[in-house]
Amino acid sequence: MTYIAKPKFHHPGLKKNELGYTHRDYEGKISTLCAGCGHDSITASIIEACYELSIEPHRVAKISGIGCSSKTPDYFLGNSHGFNSVHGRMPSVLTGANLANRDLIYLGVSGDGDSASIGFGQFAHSIRRGVNMTYIVENNGVYGLTKGQFSATADRGSKSKKGVTNTDNAIDLVAIALQLGATFVARSFSGDKTQLVPLIAAAIRHKGASFIDVISPCIAFNNHAGSTKSFDYVREHNDAVNRLDVLVGRDPIAVDYAPGTVQMVEQHDGSKIALRKIDADYDPHDRLGAQTFLARHAAKGQIVTGLLYVDPDAEDMHAHLNTVETPLNTLEADTLCPGSAALDKFNASLR
């Protein structure tokens, strides 16, 4: 933990985005996590993605549960809305907020304890409902706040810092999200911002349930030999299927890739994702294919990263429920209450 506030001075040559903000304007308070925590890199990636997308901070709601990961919304977007909810209850708070005001950008920030243990059911239902959100799990495989017990995502056979072998099977949140119908599913690594930043940006632009599992080494309790979530292990076993650039309509970026290696994906809002294929056979539009690909590679001990599945024409919960375009929280009494004449008419129809 650092006692001093991060100095206000910034590099005099920092670029500004369309809103005139530098990336420093998207910061929050200084992190109180352990030095070197992977979560801080995810924080930096969220800051970078929001800066690049020129998002107005007051248009974002960041919602989290309990845990190291759930502390991080305090460290980014200091001028956004935020709700630090009960352990594992981020998805239901987020769903409620989204129902009330569909106009905000929803960032759900959670961890492997918060989403794969106590909040597993909540996680499942928010994905299943297709809530329009970016659900980020900062996945380090241990309970850091309680000194490093295995979490539900720790791989069977991996070793704790004290040398104990994990005998329980692991939950693969990406596999579950695919199965539950998430329309944007990705996995990345906190130590690889060039992959992670565009993934977060694409997820924010996606209309529907976006889920990103970010492997984030716990420096204090899970960065040793025998861990499968350490910097060294993830770097050695990282099998990236693709890399991507996010292109936002107004500002077309000249994409200069060798033909056949790039796949353009246009999302609902007109933004484009340029997918640079690394694995030529991998098709990110094939949900079933993705599931088997993941299972096959997991069996080989490989960690598949990249944009694993996207449905560019996805619909969200509001479409399913056929709600009005106007956010419900701005509907006034005269709209919500049609008056006694209308009630009488309705009652009469039931008689």
Partner: protein, 599 residues
């Protein structure tokens, strides 16, 4: 790029921009920290060792350190380094017991021509080593131009007396009122070495029509200032024109304001920006209601029966040729006449050595300057050394001090039978500042304050008495605020490749986006790929050895705040904050030839 060799003494020295820019290489951040701690005497002694005249320089230095100060690249203004130096001098306790004691004489005799900053620096370095030092000066008291040319309202006599006194009290013999008229005669006195620190004593003439006829009211600036300083001149006409745009011109016009000049103007050939005077000296003159008129070239003095009545000027404008050189060409507008009662000519200074005979073994170049080695300061006569303005023409006090230290080292080596061309490396001391997981032995919390103004005496009072000091100096509170603005650039970010696990924590926390992890490449290419644009290519890149992923760590030293957050957020201690104290070797340093080692 090759991995940076941080063991080379210059690498981290360059990061301490102020110290690198200072001719005497005074450890600036070190003494500023001591001021912040209220340890004024300690801060003074660091200065005294390095620049000999902290109280004098704290009022008059040309401050090459301040334009170099990193803070000036981070926000608008640099740290007021110079005025903090004065704080150390103002608030120190009696430090006489900390000065070297006059030591037993070693039998060697050194003569000094001129008692200004260069000579006194050499004498200070040599006297404690046992040399018998004899300083000759035409003026009755020591100090040279510091006493004669700098007005008392900028530099009171008490400060000069104190700091020249510290040197003379080391057993240095001062022969005031004894002008050396013949080098040959001096050589005949069989001194073991002679140091010439006679300055640039001749003010440049302005030979235009009417000069001779109006001579009674046309004065050479430095001679006039000197005459004022000794009390020989105590008034001047009501309307005064000062010709010239350097610091001497600023001293002339402000002095004239105090001796009866009511309508004082400075007239300069060049534009305002190109004037040689320091910006703050121009400001002070303007503050005292002295207009500065630019692009006017004096054509003739107008006089009426030997009485000056005014000066005629040709109007010019600046034109730049293909190479960017400036030429002043007539603008075509009609000439301008400015009426006045007195003129002060401050258009430059020259060296003059009429007292050095041709057969002394001292050769001169085509500009009539002695041939002096720029490192050892020896002339073509191996026993005769030059320093200060006498060696390379008019510069500032701090240059005279720096050259004096080098000349003293040469003289000491010569008289110890050593090769004077062998120059010892500076002494470097490196120590980690880590005291706990996130505790450092320096204040790493960056102050957001803007530069504090030095309080000035009320203008009405200041203009009444020529001996009333205008600047009051910082009080303790202001000094603390200003000291806190220092970024501690001498507390270096030191990177250990083998400890780094490439977690990016330093990249994420760095407030200035100084750090990039990327593939190695040539410098020009790397500068294109930094996290924040490289704005000053003269500022070094710190490049690590290859990391596990095959990348390297590149740090642009340019705007690093030395806040230590990279080291605080580093989980493995790959970054450490280490204080890099560099002291230049002076005559008699304990182990001057041992090469130094660094982290």
């Amino acid at each position: 790029m090759k991995p940076t060799d941080i063991a080379a003494p210059d690498y981290f020295h360059k990061v301490v921009d102020c110290q690198w820019a200072c001719p005497a290489h005074t450890p600036v951040p070190e003494y500023i920290r001591l001021i912040a701690q209220g340890r004024y005497s300690d801060a003074y002694m660091i200065n005294w060792k390095s620049n000999v005249f902290p109280g004098i320089l704290g009022r008059t230095c040309d401050r090459p350190c301040e334009p170099a100060c990193r803070r000036g690249r981070v926000e608008e203004t640099p740290v007021a380094i110079c005025r903090l130096k004065r704080v150390a001098a103002d608030f120190k306790d009696d430090i006489t017991h900390r000065l070297p004691k006059p030591s037993a004489k070693n039998g060697k005799r050194v003569a000094f021509v001129g008692g200004g900053p260069a000579s006194l620096t050499v004498a200070r370095d040599l006297a404690p080593l046992g040399y018998h030092c004899t300083v000759f000066d035409g003026d009755p008291e020591a100090g040279g131009m510091m006493r004669t040319q700098i007005p008392k309202f900028r530099l009171p006599n008490s400060v000069i007396d104190e700091e020249t006194g510290y040197i003379l009290d080391l057993g240095v013999e001062f022969k005031g009122g004894h002008r050396i008229e013949s080098m040959k005669a001096l050589l005949a006195e069989k001194y073991d070495a002679i140091f010439v620190g006679s300055g640039a004593p001749r003010g440049r003439e302005l030979d235009i029509p009417g000069r001779k006829e109006a001579a009674a009211h046309v004065h050479i600036g430095i001679d006039w200032l000197s005459s004022v300083s000794f009390g020989h001149t105590d008034k001047i006409g009501k309307r005064v024109v000062v010709l010239g745009g350097g610091n001497t011109a600023m001293d002339c016009c402000r002095t004239a304001r105090r001796l009866g000049g009511e309508d004082v103007k400075v007239v300069v050939r060049s534009g305002f920006e190109e004037m040689k005077a320091s910006p703050w000296e121009k400001e002070d003159a303007i503050h005292e209601d002295i207009p500065i008129l630019n692009f006017l070239v004096p054509v003739s003095f107008i006089h009426d029966n030997g009485k000056l009545t005014g000066i005629t000027f040709q109007k010019v404008k600046a034109e730049y040729d293909a190479k960017g050189r400036r030429n002043l060409v007539p603008s075509g507008e009609p000439d301008q006449t400015i009426e006045c009662d007195d003129v002060l000519v401050a258009v430059g200074q020259e060296n003059a050595f009429p007292w050095i005979e041709q057969d002394c073994g001292i050769e001169f170049d085509k500009w009539h300057m002695p041939k002096v080695d720029p490192k050892t300061f020896v002339s073509t006569n191996p026993k005769v050394f030059f320093g200060g303005d006498a060696a390379f023409g008019p510069k500032n006090i701090i240059w005279a001090v720096a050259q004096g230290h080098d000349a003293a080292l040469s003289i000491h080596k010569l008289l110890s039978g050593e090769d004077i061309t062998e120059r010892p490396l500076p002494e470097v001391n490196v120590s980690s500042q880590k005291m706990g997981i996130h505790e450092w032995s320096y204040d790493n919390d960056i102050s957001n304050d803007k530069r504090f103004k030095v309080p000035h005496r009320d203008k009405v009072i200041a203009l009444k008495d020529i001996r009333t000091e205008v600047e009051l100096g910082y009080d303790v509170k202001l000094a603390l605020g200003e000291a806190e603005r220092c970024l501690n650039c001498d507390v270096q970010t030191v990177f250990s490749t083998s400890l780094c696990i490439e977690c990016d924590a330093c990249v994420d926390i760095c407030p200035m986006d100084c750090i990039t992890f990327t593939e190695n490449g040539e410098e020009a290419d790397l500068r294109q790929r930094l996290k924040a644009p490289s704005l000053h290519p003269d500022q070094d890149l710190y490049v690590s050895r290859d990391l596990k992923t095959g990348r390297v760590m590149v740090k642009d030293e340019d705007v690093c705040l030395h806040c230590g957050l990279c080291a605080e957020r580093c989980p493995t201690g790959a970054w450490d904050m280490q204080k890099y104290l560099i002291e230049m070797t002076q005559a008699g340093s304990s182990c001057p030839t041992r090469s130094r080692s660094a982290a």
